[in-house]
Amino acid sequence: MTTVFGVPLAVILGQLMLGLVNGAFYALLSLGLAVIFGLMGVVNFAHGALYALGAFAALLGMKWLGLNYWVALLAAPAAVAVLGLAAERALLRHVYKLPPLYGLLLTFGLALVIEGTLFQLFGSSGDSYPVPEALRGAWNLGFMILPIYRGWVILASIVVCTGVWFVIERTRLGATLRAARENGALLQSFGVNVPLLFAATYGGGAALAALAGVLAAPVILVTPHMGSSLVIVVFAVVVIGGMGSILGAIVSGLGLGLIEGFTKVVYPEASNVIVFVIMAVVLILRPAGLFGKE
């Protein structure tokens, strides 16, 4: 059998494949974070809570309204986006002119409120969301058995990431959004409703977090705390990619998944900390991140 560093090649390939699945989640989450930071300058610490909220929305939609997975895939992000819009109008818009620290603290408080409320309403033990009928079963890839659902996650993530990248970097809407960040007052004088644009951006970022939550719901247990440890990892991904860089967030999200997957084989205990080591190295050597502009 072919081996790399004493590990059979098939095992490496299998682990890399799983790393790619995790990378797909990271990419989706860091994409939302990068959109919010890049266009609004807010470090959204509530991202993990919004992710959990998306998963809960899907779960409750199924339990209370009988909505299936495919409906939830659209409905849950939409519901969370409305909530995000409301939060932006009520709270977040007051901190744009302040140093980024305040936006971070505000969203951190928001995250505690959301997670605490979910906890009080639904308890800590969580609930399971079934894998949709059409995506059950597994493919035999030769070197591993890949559940179809995991394959779907990779596909969905890549499609959504490409779509968002295209909208922001290549369309008129995206150009307007970027202009709002550069000079909101000027844009306002051209008759563009800038406050609405900001609210929509936060709503959109929240929807991306919620979408990741719905995608994750059939794979992991849905609990109030499911996103709380994720948010600093994802934030590290955004920093590595270069804050505000959409492409950077996507590429480093996928890349981190792969590196983490490899770490899980050679030094599993460190798989949670490797991202921070990479972030420290990147920040020291290349302060603006891999794809950021100095």
């Binding site: 399971s128 499911m226 599993p268």
Partner: protein, 401 residues
């Protein structure tokens, strides 16, 4: 006299008045303190339900003992040892704490046990697994109730090895509790003639376990030992199912509660072996208690809920029998009396503080076998207390006398 002086003087006056404020708990009360995780990951295992169960026990006992009113204090330790320990110390110093109960987290429980030992307050550790509580970290005032890592490992591991599951691979939560579980199980596996093929240490709170499972599968072991708890346990079992591992390997939980099984669903959990000290559907007595509990909490009790109920009753009975709340005398009575209630039959507190009672090795039913809500377990083996908790190790100095 200037302003500073007048302020100074009035301040001292207040100070003198305040000096009279502190008073120990009134002599006509018996104070029970419950410190537990009310807002974190273990909150559903004990938490608010545990408080309800203690209240039930106090009410069932009549609300008074030796003519003194029974008072319950509660606090959330937030899984921080400093909060748990300082709360326990404060109650002991200022509220006349007579009995401490709870824990749910080994690190916090050890810190609480040290305080209780120093302050001579009987401490019923319920919900913390670490058997170090009755070994290197033991005190003469700790009673380890409900379960510990030794009894869980003995129950699950020895039963599975005897049923033919000879080779084991572990997914271990990378912290002291996970290590204790794995070590306890490994010893049992070897002693029963099985073999340990290896383990992978997964960081606490890793959301994706598929990669660790793939390594477990590569080992070719027959049994997948899950040396983790709570969300880690649920997520690793869920992924094992998704990747079809449960077809080739037998999953074995080294610590699972009924609320974990409830949230996972039988589809994912079916066939799992686990050990528990209590199951609501064992007999009429357990069903009667559970029915009352269910009416309050809308969930069947975990073994910790039943454990705190039983522990509270046991303590109150001991106080009644000893005729005093004097900690030495109550501890002597606790070490002497047999415990007979809906939780334990013929249970007793050993010299090292372990409450020895029968444990139940269970297998989770398949969805077809389950006939009514919460009908989750079938009994594989009722294990005698002596077998489950093993001999006294001698690591606890107060048990050596």
């Amino acid at each position: 006299m200037n302003r500073t002086h007048s302020a100074l003087l009035s301040f001292m006056g207040i100070a003198a008045l305040g000096g009279c404020g502190s008073a120990l708990g009134a002599a006509n009360e018996v104070v029970i303190g419950d410190i537990d995780d009310l807002s974190g990951n273990y909150a559903d295992v004990q938490g608010q339900g545990g408080i309800e169960a203690i209240k039930m026990a106090i009410a069932d006992f009549g609300g008074t003992v030796l003519g003194r009113k029974i008072v319950l204090l509660t606090a959330d330790h937030q899984n921080k040892p400093d909060v748990g320990a300082s709360k326990a110390r404060e109650w002991a110093d200022q509220n006349g704490l007579n009995m401490l109960i709870g824990g749910s987290n080994t690190g916090v429980s050890i810190a609480m046990a040290k305080v209780a030992g120093a302050k001579k307050v009987p401490f019923f550790a319920v919900g913390a697994g670490g058997s170090s509580l009755t070994n290197e970290d033991c005190t003469p005032y700790t009673i380890h109730y409900s379960y510990d890592t030794t009894s869980l490992a003995n129950g699950t591991a020895s039963t599975i090895v005897k049923a033919g599951g000879k080779t084991w691979y572990y997914i271990t939560a990378d912290y002291a509790f996970g290590t204790q579980l794995q070590n306890a199980a490994s010893k049992v596996v070897e002693a029963s003639g099985g073999k340990n093929l290896g383990a992978v240490r997964a960081p606490l709170g890793a959301s994706d376990f598929s990669s660790f499972l793939l390594q477990a599968q590569g080992s070719g072991a027959q049994v997948l030992g899950l040396a983790n708890a709570g969300e880690d346990f649920s997520n690793s079992l869920k992924a094992a199912n998704e990747f079809g591992l449960t077809k080739s390997m037998k999953p074995a939980a080294l610590l699972a509660f009924i609320n974990n099984i409830h949230s996972l669903g039988l589809k994912s959990a079916q066939g799992l072996y686990l050990t528990t000290s209590f199951y609501w559907d064992l007999n009429d007595e357990t069903r009667a208690f559970s029915k009352r509990f269910f009416e309050k909490m809308k969930a069947e009790p975990t073994m910790d809920h039943a454990g705190v109920y039983s522990a509270t009753l046991t303590y109150l009975k001991a106080v009644k029998a000893a005729g005093t709340t004097d900690p030495e005398k109550v501890m002597a009575e606790l070490h002497r009396a047999k415990i007979n209630d809906m939780f334990a039959k013929g249970g007793y507190v050993r010299a090292d503080g372990v409450m020895v009672h029968d444990m139940y090795v269970m297998q989770v039913k398949s969805p077809q076998e389950s006939k009514y809500p919460w009908d989750y377990y079938k009994l594989v083996k009722q294990m005698k207390g002596e077998e489950a908790f093993g001999p006294i190790t001698g690591l606890c100095p107060s048990a050596r006398r």
